[in-house]
């Protein structure tokens, strides 16, 4: 019981209410004790005058008092007071949510004296007041209040209430001068009440927002415009100008009154809780209502039972095989009750039998979400997960399958099927993993073998070279057979080199020569490519052709590989130093294994030659050696100038070829041959490069090959080459001659020298010819 409230009521109604209360509430233990204590102050000093005034109303009051006494337990209950916080008063004028009315006292026409008295009674520290500056003194300014900005809304404009704003409560807006200089007489100022002297009716205000309570601290204090005046004040001014307006007229004409949300807004403002509506009827105490009786609870219950009914019908359909009807019933059930567990489980089971395992899993999972203890849902979900896992396994989505199995196991640790399936899967996965590893290993091996073979090949070449050197030393002048062999070698090498230079002019010849030169190698090694030309009849491994076809695109890639090459070469070089016996028989294999490497070599050379283009020919050796760390030591090792010559030749050669190649690439139509033939030249370049670069060391190999060629009766070709050389002049012209001259100085075999001289002659002949 709220004693203060009851005391207030008793003071108002007098002892008659007390006696009524005593008779009405005598059964209520709260009141019995309370009324005893209340008696004293109630009887205390009853003012005679008030009592007399009340006696006039006595008759009607009795009814009310009876009512109060009857309802006292409700009226004075502590719970009756609402704890609902009243909504903040800030900025409510921005948008008229309700009919903002002029103050009541204005309509009641209460004398100013009483209003003033009541104002000073009711004003509180922290209230916002709005006034006009009446005078500015050195210690502050005085303002005449015209209205209130918060708390109670009163009509004070005619009360001539002045308030002082002392200097220390005026914030300085600029850092120099008197803060008061900012203000002028007549300014509208919003300020917070700082001090009230109720007895002397004096007010002190502050312009610092710290004078305001926290919920109002957002309000800006200081000078305001007339538009910022509160709506109630503006309405009250209007009313003053036309005092005939009634409260009702103003209210009804106000926009806020017809706002559809006005009731809700004002209920909030007044702290009335609509969700728990108050009533003084005993039978309507909403706190006595059971939650189960509310519409939403009843509907939920009803829907659940309805849905269950549908599920039952559906299950019956399902049992007799009418799956479509069953599905319809389940869907209906779920429409009625979205979260119906039974319907979800039943539908999931139907999906599972129909093979829509994913949908089934979804349903089971949702069912378990709503009812985690549902045994069937769990069981079915496990089974479906395993089944789906099996499906995925068949689709070779092992990881997905594994996750399904694991999910099933997570749901039910004892679920044997899932465990078995998982183990099986793991075994299988391991096996396949091993298989894959093996495959990868194999590939890796192949790769390394390739590298090794290239290394081996180099090694062999080196050895051959050494052998050749020895041989040559032995038989420089004496052995004719050797010299003839040498001759054949040199002629072949020179012819092939010159042959490559002929591309531009005599396509046929070039292709032929390259073909023929290829044929040598094709016989010896199997890495040569038949470029789908009908007239070509050389059996060629397909894989290499493919690699060659891809060559152009791979150039970039290969260029990257280039970085790797020197390293490999170093390795090779180191191996070179250890003497290795090599049989000539190995050589063909060697070539076969190198199917890719030549390109790398070629590319590396290509770039190098490209960069060395501007270098002077006689310097090329040094440059070359300095460029290639490995080759440079290699040269020293071999100490063979022919080799160097070969290098140079090749360098030049490739340069020229590069040009050719460049020219061919975009539009091979210029040439009678198809781009495929350009590939031939490519290949021949490589081959040639092999022969020259690595090759000058393996004269013996050349020998061997040409001997072979001879045996096969193809050697007459060489003559053609020589003819070709005669008719054709390489672009290098003089420079190559220089090469040859510098190269010749060393103790070359005589026949080789002859050939070089021949070449030089051709070059001289053609040297004046402009390129292209």
């Amino acid at each position: 019981m709220d004693r203060d409230l009851m005391r207030q009521s008793l003071n108002f109604h007098g002892p008659s209410l007390l006696s009524l209360l005593r008779s009405e509430q005598q059964d209520n233990p709260h009141f019995r004790s309370l009324l005893g204590s209340v008696v004293e102050p109630a009887r205390g000093p009853p003012p005679q005058q008030q009592l007399q005034g009340r006696k006039e109303k006595k008759v009607e009051n009795i009814e009310i008092q009876k009512f109060i006494s009857k309802k006292a337990d409700l009226l004075f209950a502590v719970s009756w007071k609402s704890d609902a916080p009243t909504t903040s008063e800030v900025n409510e004028d921005d948008e008229e949510r309700y009919a903002v009315m002029p103050p009541l006292e204005q309509f009641m026409e209460i004398p100013s004296m009483d209003r003033r008295e009541l104002f000073f009674r009711d004003i509180e520290r922290g209230d916002i007041v709005i006034g006009r500056i009446s005078s500015i003194r050195e210690f502050g300014f005085f303002m005449v209040l015209i209205c209130l900005g918060s708390g109670v809304m009163r009509d004070i404009s005619h009360l001539e209430i002045t308030a002082l704003c002392p200097l220390r409560d005026v914030p300085s807006l600029s850092n120099h001068g008197d803060p008061l200089s900012y203000y002028q007489t007549g300014d509208l100022v919003r300020a917070g009440i700082k001090d009230i002297d109720r007895y002397h009716e004096k007010l002190a205000v502050s312009l610092y927002s710290s004078s305001l309570p926290p919920h109002l601290s957002g309000i800006k204090l200081g000078v305001i415009s007339s538009e910022e005046l509160p709506l109630y004040y503006r309405r009250s001014v209007e009313l003053n100008s036309n005092s005939s307006e009634s409260y009702e007229n103003i209210m009804q004409s106000s926009l806020g009154f017809v706002n559809p949300g006005v009731v809700e807004f004002l209920l909030g403002k007044l702290g009335i809780d609509e969700s728990n509506p108050p009533s003084l009827m005993r039978g309507l105490q909403s706190k006595n209502f059971s939650e189960d009786d509310f519409a939403s609870a009843l509907r939920k219950k009803q829907s659940a039972s309805w849905a269950l009914k549908c599920v039952k019908i559906g299950v019956d359909y399902f049992k007799v095989g009418r799956h479509v009807d069953a599905m319809n019933e389940y869907n209906k059930a779920l429409e009625i009750d979205k979260q119906n567990v039974e319907a979800l489980v039943a539908r999931g089971a139907l999906y599972a039998t129909k093979g829509s395992l994913n949908k089934a899993i979804e349903d089971f999972e949702l069912a378990l979400e709503n009812c985690p203890t549902h045994r069937n849902a769990r069981k079915y979900l496990c089974q479906t997960l395993v089944e789906r896992g099996g499906q995925l396994e068949e689709e070779e989505k092992f990881l997905n399958a594994e996750s399904y199995y694991k999910k099933a196991l997570a749901l039910d640790e004892t679920f044997k099927d899932a465990e078995d399936a998982l183990q099986k899967l793991h075994k299988y996965m391991q096996k396949s993993l091993e298989l894959r590893e093996k495959q990868a290993e194999k590939e890796e091996k192949q790769k390394t073998r390739k590298i090794e073979t290239s290394a081996e090949k180099l090694r062999k070449l080196l050895k051959e070279e050494k052998r050749l050197k020895k041989k040559r030393r032995k038989s420089t002048s004496s052995s004719s057979s050797v010299s003839s062999a040498d001759e054949s070698v040199s002629s072949s090498s020179s012819s092939s080199s010159s042959g490559h230079k002929r591309h531009k002019k005599h396509k046929r010849n070039r292709s032929e020569s390259s073909r023929s030169s290829k044929r040598h190698s094709a016989k010896a090694s199997s890495n040569q490519v038949d470029q789908n030309k009908k007239d070509e009849c050389f059996p060629v491994p397909a894989n290499t052709s493919a690699s060659f076809l891809n060559q152009k695109q791979e150039v970039e890639k290969l260029l990257e590989k280039q970085d790797r090459l020197p390293y490999q070469k170093k390795q090779v070089k180191e191996k070179d130093r250890c003497p290795l016996s090599s049989s000539s028989v190995e050589i063909p294999d060697d070539f076969g294994g190198r199917s890719e490497d030549p390109r790398d070599f070629y590319n590396s050379y290509k770039t190098q030659t490209g960069s060395s283009k501007t270098e002077k020919p006689h310097k090329s050796e040094r440059h070359f050696s300095s460029r290639r760390d490995s080759s440079d030591s290699f040269y020293r090792n071999s100490e063979d100038k022919i080799k160097i010559y070969g290098y140079r030749r090749f360098e030049k050669d490739t340069e020229g070829r590069k040009e050719h190649y460049r020219r061919w690439e975009p539009g091979s139509m210029r040439y009678s041959t198809s781009p495929a033939s350009s590939d031939y030249s490519w290949k021949s370049v490589e081959k040639y490069k092999k022969y020259t670069y690595s090759g000058s060391r393996d004269f013996s190999r050349h020998e061997q090959r040409y001997q072979l060629n001879k045996n096969q009766g193809e050697y007459e070709r060489e003559g053609n080459y020589e003819e070709d050389i005669k008719t054709e002049v390489p672009e290098e012209g003089l420079s190559s001659k220089e090469h040859s001259e510098s190269g010749v100085k060393k103790n070359l075999p005589q026949n080789l020298l002859n050939i070089f001289n021949q070449i030089a002659a051709f070059e001289k002949e053609k040297g004046n010819k402009p390129k292209n």
Binding site: L5, Y98, L104, Y247, L280, M281, A295, S296, R299, S305
Partner: protein
């Protein structure tokens, strides 16, 4: 507001029997309206739709003899109709559920069988009947909006501590809601009812409007020019009469 002469219908003086006790009809209406209010609360209805439902119900039985139709069915239809009028749409299924629960406490919700649909049909049919009886005049001006504005005006004039101490707003709101147990809403102007309710709430807590004696115009007259003290007294007494029924009817 419907211009309804006082005493012509909706109980009031006629509700009082010869012995000064409420006539049996008034007691029936009291019971039914209490059903409307309870169902309204359980249906989550706001105050104004409930007030409209009660007004529809009372207005209907001003025109029609109580024996002609089942008052509870009319009450259910009134709820349904009020939901439409006040734009708080209710579903007949909820109304039936809540009503069924009210009549048969602790019973299971009805099955959605043919009986249920028949019940639903009867509500809809009755709704049409009510509409025709009321000549489709089913919008009412309720005192709620007035009361809230009055409360705010009074609050500003009162001392804020005295206002905080006394739950005048809630009491006035409760009184207003309870007033629909009778036909008050049909016999008096909305503004008058609002003022009377406020007056009673202030009286109950002994809250005085400051400087009332000095004022040229009493506060209640400010709110409604044509309001007189006897009207307030009448309304208050009718209101209290309604509460006497509450204690008599368990």
């Amino acid at each position: 507001m419907e211009a309804v002469g006082p005493g012509t219908c909706g109980g009031g003086d006629a509700a009082l029997g010869a012995e000064g006790r409420p006539a049996p009809e008034a007691r029936v209406h009291f019971r039914v309206t209490r059903f409307i209010m309870e169902a309204g609360v359980k249906l989550g209805m706001r105050s104004i739709p409930i007030a409209t439902a009660c007004a529809i119900y009372h207005k209907f039985f001003c025109e029609i003899d109580l024996d002609a139709y089942d008052p509870y069915l009319v009450a259910m239809s009134s709820l349904y109709l009020a939901g439409k009028v006040e734009e708080q749409r209710l579903r007949t299924r909820d109304i039936i559920n809540v009503s069924n629960r009210y009549f048969h406490p602790d019973s299971e919700p009805l099955e959605l069988d043919s009986r249920f649909w028949e019940l639903r049909d009867s509500i809809v049919q009755c709704e049409l009947l009510v509409l025709r009886v009321l000549r489709f005049q089913v919008s009412f001006q309720h005192p709620h909006k007035y009361l809230l504005h009055y409360l705010l005006s009074v609050k500003n004039w009162l001392n804020r501590y005295s206002w905080q101490r006394s739950p005048v707003s809630i009491t006035a709101w409760a009184l207003l809601r309870d007033s629909y147990h009778g036909g008050l809403c049909l016999r008096f102007q909305a503004q008058h009812i609002a003022v009377a309710v406020l007056h009673l709430a202030l009286q109950a807590y002994g809250v005085e409007v400051p400087a009332e004696a000095e004022a040229e115009k009493p506060w209640w007259q400010v709110f409604s020019e044509d309001l007189t003290k006897p009207i307030i007294d009448n309304i208050v007494s009718d209101l209290i009469q309604i509460y006497t029924m509450d204690t008599e009817i368990p």
